[in-house]
Amino acid sequence: MSFFKKLKEKITGTNETVTEKFKDGLTKTRESFTSKVNDLVSRFRVVDEEFFEELEEVLLQADVGFDTVMELIDLLKDEVKRKNIKDTTGMQTLISEKLVEIYNAGEEVSNELNIEEGRLNVILMVGVNGVGKTTTIGKMASRLQKEGKTVMLAAGDTFRAGAIDQLVVWGERTGVEVVRQAEGSDPAAVIFDAVKAAKKRNVDVLICDTAGRLQNKVNLMNELEKVHRIIGREIEGAPHEVLLALDATTGQNALIQAQTFNEATNVTGIVLTKLDGTAKGGIVLAIRSKLDIPVKFVGLGEGIDDLQPFDPEKYVYGLFADGLEMEDEDEEDEEGTEEDK
């Protein structure tokens, strides 16, 4: 059975609607990235140096980043040599296989949120300006609530005009309490209050918003470190999750963002936002292989339910879905002859 069929069965067997969401959300990505790969495969009947060069360009255009592209191309070249592949048919499968491989190459880390029953779980949301931290918090609150957890939000972005109101609106939508202070107050103080309030009211999850900050602003990064420290002082082992929100349209700078925020706050996971609009998000590959930080959620739209847990296999499947289904049909005809990969 082909890698894809396995993948597809594994995924569709579990949850059809979520996979559909991935497929829909990734339409744009698929159109540009996948059709390019498909186009490449059909144009080149033979796997040669030129084929790899063009593939390299397609990958670079998906923001995968230079080093990771080189790594992938080397892997592919080895594989092609080893299996003595001359023909380009089936290259899509090979490419996606290697993509997943690269993604999974790092340490085994869980994609699940570290949330335990019977304690106050604190999630700290960090990131640069305009990546969608507050929106993600709104969606996440709704998600957790649906799972039967009591949630509280802390309006820690006291800097940007209107940020507190934005979180309050999300609070109203989801029926979740928001701890807030006036604009311009000390974010550490807001978070401190929120932790106290969350303890008193026995909530399951406290999600803390913070102001967007560019990672090269030393003072602001120090402020974030302080917020992180204060949460840890109030509750041992907290924050249990530090989620870095990354805009999927961001280029190579995302890697630097992940590095710097990781140094300041020990990032435990990434939320890749706005993936529905972009042609790529290829940078997650680089981040995963260089920093060992897993992507835990992806934002696939503006609706309250458009935050989905990330699954690398689903992601790759979403990328290649159409091309694969075609390939699948072909395969079914020659099922008997196709050997297991």
Binding site: G130, G162, D165, Q166, T250, E302
Partner: protein, 451 residues
Amino acid sequence: MAFEGLAERLQGTLNKITGKGKINEADVKEMMREVRFALIEADVNLKVVKEFVKTVSERSVGQDVMKSLTPGQQVVKIVKDELTNLMGGEQNPIQFARKSPTVIMMVGLQGAGKTTTTGKLATVLRKKHNKKPLLVAADIYRPAAIQQLETLGKQITVPVFSMGTDQSPVEIARRAMEEAEREHNDVVIIDTAGRLHVDEVLMQELKDIRELTKPDEVFLVVDAMTGQDAVNVAKNFNETIGITGVILTKLDGDTRGGAALSIRSVTEKPIKFVGMGEKMDALEPFHPERMASRILGMGDVMSLIEKAQENVDEEKAKELEQKLRTQSFTLEDFLDQMQQVKKMGPLDEILKMMPGANKIKGLDNAKVDESQMGRVEAVIYSMTRAERENPDIINASRKKRIAVGSGTSIQEVNRLLKQFEEMKKMVKQMTSMQQKGKKKGKMPGFDSFFK
């Protein structure tokens, strides 16, 4: 600073070739390979990279370069020229309508910074162009977007027109135009909701607003950290609604700024402003030539001079110069000077504008510590007037008092006094040198205070 990584790599590559007396095609090819990597790593669009590399290569292997006496420098010049071209050549000012009001529409993806930029733009228009802007809150989708604009409006005391979230953005725009007429606002800036360039319904809404208000400028606001997709976004917005210019935001981050290099060449629309910070006055006109020279480490003296002119009091500067010449420069003057420099913006940004500053050892990653500046200030503030005028009278017990008063230590007080003495000595040398050449170097050794 933005472009830093790109600058570093390009400079490294170009340094190898600058001094060469002879260049052959292989040299150029080798260099261009590295230039290509550098540009891709900086998120410059792949197609743009290819074109750029091709043009530069062709020009570099041309006869006049190869035969010139300094072919290396010629190549560097070509790279600079082409970089400038890529970013649009001349600085492109904002277009005002012949008949008021001028209408400006802000469009872009979510989170690019439209609302913040709207506030900044209003500040620029009022301060530099003497306009009376009206801001229009037409983002009815994102929670609290209207409050955000209203808060900004209050901060900068510019009126904001809003009708809540129940009216359609088109209707809001229409009523805002009437309001502007009534209140005699000569500029109307419409803040629209962030949207994906693939969202047809929302794009139609923009078209309708455009149709109705006939804007003189449609600014596409783009996050400078955007990757390869930046050109698709720009192309799409341009084709569907037609933009007149681009504003790049968050350029104060450490992005390599590939978007800045790609968008212009793909859309043929100029970058008009760049966002350089979180404060409301941190919006600057974009100068392609200056940016190119910053990328190549040639400094940006023009911007530095402009900044100085804007923020430095000329009278005071003259007075200071006089004092420097007559050796009557005191700690009081030093404090003054320091505050003027501070007004010009973050110190490390300023240092980066100086030609050759990137070659000063350790400066590239020296985070100039602004709080250190605060400590120096505190020490001087804790001195009496007499002490500031004549630091020689500061004895041990005075030092102790100053240290306690400023919350520093005696060592710090000592260090400041010593550095001040040294600076005076250096000034003395400089001024005697300058009697011949009449160029003034204002504060030699100034930066040594903050390391």
